[in-house]
């Protein structure tokens, strides 16, 4: 008997039990749809985040206090930072690095903005007059603070889209005054919405001169120093230069990341997360597979008599085996295809809420995995069916 015949027999049997076949498929449908959807969300978020980092330009370097060489990524070693950067460190770097290098001292913190009776909790980023070259920001209206404002530490700020919407109802805020932690500030610019709510800090940010920010937070420390090499190919050479300049004062208690390294690390973390999501979804696919095995076992004992008849008229072990395996595979592959369609549509539908990206490998893996589930969980019931003794099977009631 050839494959086409086995296939037709299997389809006929599944067609005879439509509701049961559909319910059995449901397990696989949910599993595959979950895999596709979760992977789509995972890689969508990944694309979004890496995209926004790449948007900063590839010639950035970040100097952070603390030794990250062991024990994880940025933020992991926060507790044992003993020595923080000061303004002088940024100045030293600016003097000793090649001309054309942008050095931005950065200070970050949280502050409460108040305009009229509205308040907004924003993340404050302080930089210098060249900060607009390293912060991923496009000016909507107004301007970045200038050298003079930076040097004298004037109370001026640039609003991100979030606080602008909240405090000014989306109206032009440039020229207005508001208070930050009770101090009066003048709005000199506002920044376009960045979108991609998962990197949402940018939209919730306000930018001001680092000198002003230091006074606001009552500190002389910097959070980090961001540098921009004149050309992308200078980045590699610049990293050891920066390390050499900072080492006398900080020893090993600092770390320099290039844009590329940051991106690599993030990609790695997000990739792991995506695989984890896929794994969780895979478990439901496995459960779906066990459902198939269960139904196939029921089907085998229900159709013992049929197996007996087929054997009596000449079906070999292989014929019976392939009939039941194909039945299981048809169930799981059909379920897989429906699951792919649902996962795909779901990912498209969710796009307005969460960034999603349908990856071809998730589709391919989900499809083959569902087919494999059918084979794997179909073989045992099929094997039981195929080795039934014809006369026992015929006598079965």
């Amino acid at each position: 008997m050839n494959f086409v015949e086995s296939f037709r027999i299997a389809l006929r049997a599944l067609n005879a039990n439509k509701v049961r076949s559909a319910l059995t498929m449901l397990g696989v449908i949910i599993g595959v749809a979950a895999v596709i959807l979760l992977v789509a969300i995972g890689s969508g978020v990944q694309r979004d985040i890496t995209g926004s980092i790449e948007g900063l330009g590839s010639n950035l370097l970040f100097a952070l206090p603390g030794d990250f060489s062991e024990g994880g990524g940025p933020g992991g070693g926060g507790a044992d930072i003993r020595k923080r950067f000061k303004m002088e460190d940024a100045e030293t770097l600016r003097r000793r690095l090649p001309a054309g290098t942008v050095v931005v001292p950065v200070i970050q913190g949280q502050a409460t903005l108040k305009y009229g009776n509205r308040t907004f909790r924003a993340s404050v980023t302080g930089g210098n007059d060249q900060g607009d070259q390293v912060f991923n920001s496009t000016y909507n209206t107004g301007r970045h603070y200038n050298r003079g404002e930076y040097v004298s530490g004037e109370r001026v700020l640039v609003l991100g889209d979030g606080p602008r919407q909240e405090l000014f109802g989306g109206q032009n805020a440039v020229g207005r005054e508001l208070t930050v932690n009770g101090q009066r500030f003048k709005v000199i610019g506002s920044i376009e919405a960045q979108g991609g709510s998962l990197t949402g800090d940018q939209d919730n940010a306000v930018y001001m001169p680092a000198t002003t920010a230091q006074r606001l937070f009552g500190t002389s420390d910097l959070s980090s120093i961001i540098l921009k090499a004149p050309e992308a190919e200078d980045v590699k050479a610049m990293k050891p230069q920066i390390e050499k300049i900072l080492r006398p004062r900080f020893g090993d208690e600092f770390t320099v990341f290039t844009q590329e390294e940051t991106l690599g690390l993030l990609t790695q973390i997000l990739g792991t997360l995506t695989v984890m999501l896929a794994g969780i979804a895979g478990i439901s696919l496995l459960v779906g597979g066990i459902g198939i095995m269960n139904i196939m076992l029921v089907s085998v004992s229900e159709r013992t008599r049929e197996i007996g008849i087929r054997k009596a008229v000449g079906a070999r072990t292989y014929d019976i085996m392939s009939q039941f395996v194909i039945e299981a595979v048809v169930l799981s592959v059909t379920g897989g295809l429906v699951g792919i369609a649902i996962g795909w549509l779901g990912a498209l539908a969710l796009q307005s809420v969460v960034p999603t990206e349908i990856t071809w490998w998730a589709v391919v893996i989900a499809f083959f995995f569902s087919a494999a589930v059918g084979v794997f969980f179909g073989v045992y019931p099929a094997w039981r069916a195929s080795r039934l003794d014809p006369i026992t099977a015929l006598r079965y009631e």
Binding site: I309, A312, V313, G314, T317, Y318, D389, I391
Partner: protein, 270 residues
Amino acid sequence: MTSVLDVVGVVKTYELEGLEVRALDGVDMAVHEGEMLAIMGPSGSGKSTLMHIIGLLDRPTTGTVTIEDQDVSNMSANELATVRNRRIGFVFQSFNLLARTTAMANVELPLVYAGVAASDRTKRASEALERVGLGDRLKHMPNQLSGGQQQRVAIARALVTAPSIVLADEPTGNLDSRSGVEVMDILQGLNREGITVVLVTHDDRVARHAQRIVHIRDGRIISEEQVEKRVDARAELEALRSGAVPEHVENVWVNGNSGVRPDSDDGAAR
């Protein structure tokens, strides 16, 4: 006379709750080419077990079975399946048709496993169904057919592969008298065309349609007889049609049927 099938020294024992049951206790038998043979015995005599062994559905505990000079005693399950497919046609008491499957598809089934191409299959299956008088019922499902019609589908299925032997196990057991006669008529017709037919029955009247009867009791063949006054199913049918049921037909047939009925099965497989 050439024999199609030889059974030599066949013993079949079962283990039943720790007790050894001898269903067959040394059976020697030959089926001659082109004959119509009846194996007859009461319930529990071992006739069905013998039938299953002849039909290669079951294996003897000891002894050999030879079909067309081929010893099948040591064949694998798959080899036996092939021999069943090519050389043997089965007719069961309970029809054993596949439910929710058309008459055509049921008759095609052995050809599917024989690897016959679809177009050829359709042709041969419809020919076989026409031969049993069901040329107008090709697309009917078993549950849309009467018992007699179902049994005729089963006969069509048995002969569609042009087997060496057609084995019929109580073929009239689940049928009313008229359908029973019709089925016997078909079997006699096949035999006239040269097909070897082996019939298993507990019913003397049915057995008398054959040329030779082998009597079996307690797992042994106790006697063998050549039938002198063979019952002609065609004449019976004629008589039934004309309404004038000949006395001997009515008596024997009804008696036979009202006697010990074989354990009745409920038709087609689910």
